[in-house]
Symmetry: C2
Subunit: 138 residues, 2 copies
DNA sequence: TATTGTTATACTCTATAACTATA
DNA sequence: TATAGTTATAGAGTATAACAATA
């Protein structure tokens, strides 16, 4: 049989991993985009909502509702930038950090289970290959 | 920095590959789902449209319109199954085979370019890992 | 009664355009 | 005038329900 498409393999793998993540996130009352946003903020607060949207490849208009929910749940805060009162600085609350850490850890355990058949070296190679693939400057 | 999510890496890689595929498919007047469907049929004709839909993970009601287009473009045929006149057997026309082969070859060249940095052994490992990942029986 | 293919409908996700407040 | 955030609206993609023909 002909070698399978890379795109098809990647798409199916992504679907599988997302399917495994969803119940874990449901348990923590997080949407997929909510988790992605918390992950981004766990690395650094966002100077503007616009920068945040582009950083996670999300539409800036949809970001509003997402932030509304996360703020309502006490996971993030929006505060005006004193240097530019048009902009809002978005950051994680302590509860937001906890929630993200819990989600990340549950997801990590699931990933380890999925990759149980792969050696540590295999995983390192996989991570590097995927990182290269997802870098559209290459 | 913390190790990145497998799901995030896969999703970004998938997006990247799809973005590279789209102009190649546009050139051949094929939609992404059209290409996926032709790929499936290039392996074997489909006994029923229902089986075809589930095989490519597509909604059976949306399949109708897709088949209408592909049939109109002369790439596939629907003929009633003589053994069960409810069912329609879907198969590629010669032009459908040609079109699919052209698309597959253009996409293969693109994949080779994206994976230029990876050795043949790396690729084999990647294919096996992704095949395992995408198998939800595991 | 159950199943294949189909149509009609509703719903979700996403993108476009227009508005406000600051700069 | 230009930009950050927001709202309202329209569009694509997807799923649900109901129908006709055949088994």
């Amino acid at each position: 049989m002909a070698e399978e498409d890379l795109g098809a393999l990647l798409a199916r793998s992504t679907r599988r991993v997302i399917a495994e993540e969803r119940p874990l996130l449901d348990e923590l009352d997080l949407s997929m985009w909510g988790y992605i946003l918390l992950s981004r903020l766990s690395r650094a607060p966002a100077e503007t909502q616009l920068a945040l949207a582009t950083a996670i490849n999300y539409d800036k208009t949809r970001l509003i509702g997402l932030l509304d929910e996360l703020e309502h749940d006490g996971l993030v805060t929006r505060r005006p930038d004193p240097k530019d009162r048009r902009a809002r600085i978005v950051s994680l609350t302590p509860e937001g950090e906890r929630r993200h850490a819990a989600a990340r850890s549950a997801i990590k355990a699931m990933e380890d289970r999925l990759l149980a058949g792969a050696s540590a070296a295999d995983r390192r190679r996989l991570w590097r290959l995927l990182a290269d693939l997802s870098d559209d400057s290459a």
